[in-house]
Amino acid sequence: MRAFTTLTAKVAPLDRPNVDTDAIIPKQYLKSIKRTGFGQFLFDDWRYLDAGDLDIPVASRRPNPDFVLNQPAYRDAQILLSRENFGCGSSREHAVWALDDFGFRAVIASSFADIFYNNSFKTGFLPVALTADVIETLFRELAANPGYTLTIDLPAQRVITPGGLAHAFDIDAFRKDCLIRGLDEIGLTLQHADAIRAYEARRREQAPWLFTNPV
């Protein structure tokens, strides 16, 4: 997995609460059996005026000039700023893959849906939760300062504004460590294969009905 340590990057605003995973990457694109290529369809229903599908080249479609990510100022933004309950809805990890493939490395919002939050780390993508008041301040600063950037310092767990103000954020130790070192979680778990086997042996005794499949 790609590591994440610190990032200083331009910020794009997506000023609405409850940005759901159907909005981040609509269902027709989930038919892809690949892990890449979703960035072109990120926020598809908002980003284009006409309907799209996997087999319709995006170059043939009409971009919505009013949508924030279509504005040249935010083309190279790597941090997305949004409101509460970001990523609510389905479990599709494609939502993270789409944000990542588009070029984002982190989302800052006042809260996240659990599954989206959890999925983010698997791609080396960082979800940062700050209080609603801080988010409001960041939206105001962003609106007032073209080219607004933020620094995310993961080891120090701080978001630092251009004015030098640092906002602390929480992240649990295991996820932080995996992200900073870019660790493969499956490889880590398999280091405990003996513990898993011992658990299974015990469970076969205690709860044999869990191991009686008709297969």
């Binding site: 909005a23 309950n85 479990s91 659990d114 791609t123 649990d172 996820r175 778990t189």
Partner: protein, 470 residues
């Protein structure tokens, strides 16, 4: 037995900890992994790339549900992209030896319908699937939650997940609901109360007389939408209703093992005095048939109410969210919900496609005709076995006589990955679980309701209170 009173969630969690790293992250064992075609192909690719094999083949059960057509399947899937995804599931399951109910198997259906139906979901299990509505299985006193594709791969490779214990929220629905009020109305009313992020970070235990009175089908409807309240998992204590449902199902234990299992399952409830991190109490009598009016499941009101007016809301973010929702939905503030006319009806999805749901809808439709303004009313059973049961009861004829279409099982127009969808601007009375923008088709407008309410709207051509609909 621990001396400290424990919640149901605590009990299942404690039984499944393989290893506690001490920093809050635990390795927990996964008893059942349900697999479908949309979120698994990249996980199987990951196994191949790293030369890994499934840890426990028998723990997995696979089915294609999201992409399958609900019309005649004799010719296979016409859409080449959908076909590729279903073919990929078939070949991955064949390669790794995983049991799969293929599209033309009579046991095929929506993954969250077939797990319980087969007895592959049992009390006390940990159940995961690359689908957020895995919370459904919590109805059995199981710890069940949705995961992303990387975790699908992790479960395949290790039979475990790295997880942090959730906080616990008990939602008590006191007393009994009135006639015409269903499990769907209960859960929509709960979401209206706590909000779509109200359960974030929690496992919700649904309790109280109104929950205990529900059938397993009703309990699955409630737990299914725990995720719409922000909670990855919803749970309900095991009781005789649970045990009776499980008995005799293909994957359920038999003989002496069954007796041992039942003895254990009877302990799967929160102890008296168990402490929850949070609690919400709702009076069942206050719950009326519900209809969503916006683009988030929390935007919900009783059918007797009117569309809310954003001008009356002080909070700027909330007001702007309501304005966007009303614009998308094409609704006016203060418009009575019963005056909203619909174009389509969808009865189905992992929320409401079980036999009891179809019976409830059929009882409303019997002897009547679909309204002229309703272009399409789809009834999509949750599985081939539900379909066969409904047909043996004559429900299919009741629907088709009323002008409703009777289809093959699958996810269908809940998320429109197959050919069943709304066209831009079309309005649907839907028994599914999400009313997000574009969910049922780009530009489509979804109103979430119970099966009886959807059926009544299909007959009347607009929303009506099913309690006074004859």
């Amino acid at each position: 037995m621990s001396a400290t009173p424990r919640t149901l969630y605590d009990k299942i969690w404690d039984e499944h900890v393989v290893r506690d790293s001490g920093d809050g992250a635990c390795l927990i064992y996964i008893d059942r992994h349900l697999v479908h075609e949309v979120t698994s192909p990249q996980a199987f690719d990951g196994l191949r790339l790293n030369g890994r094999k499934p840890w426990s083949i028998a723990a997995n059960l696979a089915v294609a549900d999201h992409n399958v057509p609900t019309t005649d399947r004799a010719g296979g899937i016409t859409d080449p992209i959908s076909r590729t995804q279903v073919d990929a599931l078939d070949s991955n399951c064949a390669e790794f030896g995983i049991t799969e109910f293929r599209m033309n198997d009579r046991r095929q259906g929506i993954v969250h319908v077939i797990g319980p139906e087969q007895g592959a979901t049992l009390p006390g299990m940990t159940v995961v699937c690359g689908d957020s509505h895995t919370s459904t299985h919590g109805a059995f006193g199981a710890l069940a939650f949705g995961i992303g594709t990387s975790e699908v791969e992790h479960v395949l490779a290790t039979q475990t997940l790295v997880a942090k214990k959730s906080r616990t929220l008990r939602i008590v629905v006191r007393g009994q609901v009135g006639p015409g009020v269903t499990a769907k109305d209960i859960v929509l009313a709960i979401i209206g109360r706590i909000g779509t992020a109200g359960g974030t970070g929690y496992a919700i235990e649904f309790a109280g007389e109104a929950i205990a009175a529900l059938s397993m089908e009703g309990r699955m409807t409630v737990c299914n939408m725990a995720i719409e309240g922000g909670a990855r998992a919803g749970l309900i204590a095991v009781d005789q209703t649970t045990i009776d449902y499980c008995k005799g199902r293909p994957y359920a234990p038999k003989g002496e093992t069954w007796d041992r299992a039942v003895a254990h399952w009877r302990t799967l409830h929160s102890d008296d005095g168990a402490v929850f991190d949070s609690e919400v109490v709702i009076d069942a009598q206050s719950i009326q048939p519900q209809v969503t009016w916006g683009t988030s499941p929390e935007m919900v009101l009783p059918v007797t109410a009117s569309v809310p007016d954003p001008a009356s809301v002080g909070d700027a973010v909330k007001r702007s969210g309501m304005e966007k929702a009303l614009a998308y939905m094409g609704l006016q503030p203060n418009q009575p919900i019963e005056s909203i006319a619909i174009d389509k009806v969808f009865i189905g999805s992992c929320t409401n496609s079980r036999i009891e749901d179809l019976r409830a809808a059929a009882s409303v439709v019997r002897g009547k005709r679909k309204a002229a303004n309703v272009k399409l009313a789809l009834v999509v059973p949750g599985s081939g076995l539900v379909k066969a049961q409904a047909e043996s009861e004559g429900l299919d004829r009741i629907f088709t006589d009323a002008g409703f279409e009777w289809r093959e099982p699958g996810c269908s127009m809940c998320l429109a990955m197959n050919a069943d969808r709304l066209e831009p601007g079309e309005r649907c009375a839907s028994t599914s679980n999400r009313n997000f923008e574009g969910r049922q088709g780009q530009g489509g407008r979804t109103h979430l309701v119970s099966p009886a309410m959807a059926a009544a709207a299909g007959i009347a051509g607009h929303f009506v209170d099913v309690r006074s609909f004859v």
